[in-house]
């Protein structure tokens, strides 16, 4: 009887989950609909299930999510996380604009806000799912892997706004994850970059809305200003210090980046990307000796093409600052060998030729790479803040595989 009773209970439970009854609350109905979509979703695609799920507002999902996180099994929750990640990525890729309740971020180019984008909400659901899952037994590593994979995606997209929230959530759960600390350092390094600093400076130079502009322009201006204030809050340490005439905001962001990189390196000394970025920050802070000492071990290992390029040009720049021109020339040449024709590395080589008294070579190298007849070559330097190795696609595919 006891066995039968247990079987009977299980069956009843199954029936409740599968077939909504007239007695179900709206939230239960919503959750069951949602679960049906989760179970039919094919990971890595924007299929009918994920398209339907994307029509649920975050507020609707919030109604049942706490109960779902308590009661639903781990594999199903991981499928749910996978589906909502696909929704978030799809919305991000198409710059889909949710109708209401959105935050705004700005698109920066050359230190100038060129557009404002209402933020897609699905990431909020992802973070809640991930946070809930992380508390389940043995799920920490899988969820840390999710933060690493999706963090790489956001970094690759250059979405500092979402990445900042993403890393807040990730670090609160995995404070001792070297890769998440690496991303956090890279984010602060990006905030210190001239592209972001120039935007802030431009906005601060023109703090009031111009008169006589169209309603559309007023709306844009307000959105840009709101984004500037959001950024200010995010960079509050730098802003307060700047107000007190202390070191510039950029330097403080570099200091924060340095601290994250050091922590990441301590947690995982084999993470060579950390060495490269730490060296870059040290160079930007004027400590070229430490930059050289930090990046050299990375170059003594086997690196992917992008990391080798970055390590080499950063070494070259620091050696050049120290007046070690031969070493700098070797480093730039190594970078140029990885990406022939890359402007940054080739002009580095040209500079070294000039410092060594080989002015004709300096001109020839420069003209060879930026001259009228020279073809345009890719320069990895232009994507420095977006690159992570292994790349986002590989990390995401691996996570999806593990979530099946």
């Amino acid at each position: 009887m006891a066995t039968l009773h247990r079987v009977g209970t299980a069956l009843v439970a199954f029936m409740v989950m599968a077939i909504p009854s007239a007695a179900q609350s709206p939230s239960e109905t919503l959750m069951l609909d949602w679960l049906a979509l989760v179970r039919s979703h094919e990971a890595g695609t924007m299929d009918d299930a994920s398209a339907s799920a994307s029509e649920l507002s975050p507020d609707q999902i919030d109604i049942f999510l706490p109960r779902a996180l308590e009661s639903i099994d781990v594999p199903t929750l991981k499928r749910a996380l996978s589906m909502h990640t696909d929704i978030a990525l799809a919305q991000q890729a198409t710059l889909a604009r949710p109708a209401v309740g959105s935050r705004t971020a700005v698109v920066l180019l050359d230190g100038l806000a060129i557009d404002d984008i209402p933020r897609a909400q699905p990431w909020r659901i992802c973070w809640k799912l991930a946070t809930g899952l992380a508390t389940r037994r043995d799920q920490g590593p899988a969820i840390a892997a999710w933060f690493r994979a999706t963090g790489a995606v956001l970094q690759q997209l250059g979405d500092c706004d979402l990445l900042a929230y993403h890393l807040d959530a990730g670090l609160s759960l995995f404070a001792r994850d070297a890769v998440i600390a690496l991303y956090a350092g890279t984010l602060h390094q990006t905030f210190a970059d001239a592209r972001v600093q120039a935007f802030i400076a431009r906005r601060q130079a023109a703090p009031t809305m111009p008169s006589g502009i169209s309603p559309l322009a007023q709306s844009k201006w307000a959105a840009f200003e709101q984004a500037r204030r959001d950024l200010d809050r995010r960079m509050r340490v730098g802003r307060d210090a700047a107000t007190r005439n202390e070191p510039q905001a950029a330097d403080i962001e570099l200091g924060l980046a340095r601290d994250f990189f050091r922590r990441a390196l301590q947690l995982d000394p084999s993470l060579h990307e950390t060495r490269i970025r730490l060296a870059h920050v040290m160079s930007d802070l004027g400590n070229h000796e430490e930059a050289v000492a930090t990046v050299k071990p990375a170059l003594a290992t086997t690196l992917g093409p992008f990391l080798e390029f970055y390590a080499a040009v950063i070494l070259g720049r620091s050696e050049e600052h120290l007046g070690h021109y031969a070493a700098a020339g070797d480093a730039y040449a190594r970078a140029a060998a990885r990406f022939p024709g890359a402007q940054s590395a080739e002009l580095g080589r040209s500079r070294i030729a000039l410092t060594q008294g080989r002015a004709d070579d300096a001109v020839a190298i420069a003209v060879g790479v930026v001259g009228p007849e020279s073809p345009e070559h890719a320069d990895p330097w232009s994507s420095y803040f977006r690159v992570h190795d292994p790349d986002a696609g590989a990390l995401l595919a691996a996570w999806r595989e593990g979530a099946k």
Partner: protein
């Protein structure tokens, strides 16, 4: 005395500098780029103004030149017949609006229209990429056309553009002038500001800068170091006028030459240029000698 340019157009050489160089180095130096002239004879473009007006009647004896504090004997090179080699470096980055770009194109073409027979110009356009659209040429229609061509579009590799422009200018065989326009700070270069300033010391090209918009950190220092001018304008429709003034004022400069005595070290030499009777004197802050010059 003339020499054919790559485009076949004759242009005069620099007789005074030529003589000094031959005496010192035993080889013709008339149209050597600035790089190589540094050790044997040093040429300095000097602007002299009093009360805001150019002073045009000075002789060599009026110039007082100190090389690392050591007085030098100045020789004056006639300026009126010397052709200019202008490097026009134009910022095409994304922060420039379409209408602003039109003003910039007009300003660039204004410079081309103001060139005289014998002058040449090179064109450098930049955003996150630097592109030498043409090396020095006296083909004015081509220059005008290239200035109107689409520019690279993106962030601003200002440091790298300044570097390439100075290098290009100093490789010229005449009297180089870099006119650089940008509307902001560097946002894309690997090359540091330190490297840009060091390049300015080593190449000796005069860099005149016009900016609109954001405060620049490196450009005023660059103009000052090279003896150029730095102009910050409020609007791009004023840039054409500024370009024209820069070119005109550069033509009014004296080209002073001296052969360094008792200052034989290699490396950076600090220059001080003054004129008898006083006045506002603008000249580069020093020059770079690759090798120690012989004791004289």
């Amino acid at each position: 005395m003339s020499r054919a340019t790559p485009t076949g157009r004759p242009r005069p050489v620099l007789p005074v500098v030529c003589m000094a160089a031959v005496l010192l180095a035993g080889a013709p130096r008339a149209q050597q780029p600035l790089f190589k002239a540094a050790v044997d004879s040093v040429r300095v473009d000097v602007e002299v103004r009093r009360g805001g007006r150019p002073v045009t009647d000075l002789t060599a004896a009026d110039f007082q030149i100190l090389d690392d504090g050591v007085p030098q004997r100045a020789e004056l090179v006639s300026t009126t017949t010397l052709p200019l080699n202008v490097v026009l470096a134009l910022d095409g980055s994304a922060s420039l609006a379409a209408r602003e770009r039109e003003h910039l194109v007009a300003a660039g073409r204004g410079v081309v229209d103001a060139l005289r027979p014998g002058d040449t110009a090179a064109l450098v356009a930049f955003s996150d990429r630097v592109a030498i659209q043409t090396r020095f040429t006296d083909d004015l229609p081509r220059l005008r056309s290239l200035i109107g061509a689409p520019m690279p579009f993106g962030d601003t590799a200002l440091n790298e553009a300044a570097y390439v422009s100075m290098l290009l200018g100093a490789s010229a065989t005449g009297r180089p002038l870099v006119i650089l326009f940008s509307n902001g700070n560097d946002t894309a270069s690997l090359l540091s500001e330190t490297a840009v300033m060091d390049t300015a010391r080593r190449t000796g090209a005069v860099v005149c800068v016009v900016t609109v918009g954001a405060e620049s950190t490196v450009l005023p220092k660059l103009a000052d170091l090279t003896g150029g001018v730095f102009v910050k304008e409020g609007s791009l429709d004023r840039v054409a006028a500024r370009f024209g003034e820069i070119l005109e004022r550069f033509r009014q400069r004296y080209l002073v030459s001296f052969t360094p005595i008792r200052t034989g070290k290699a490396g950076w030499h600090r220059l001080s240029v003054k004129v008898k009777g006083g006045g506002e004197v603008r000249a580069r802050a020093g020059y770079w000698a690759e090798t120690p010059s012989p004791a004289r």
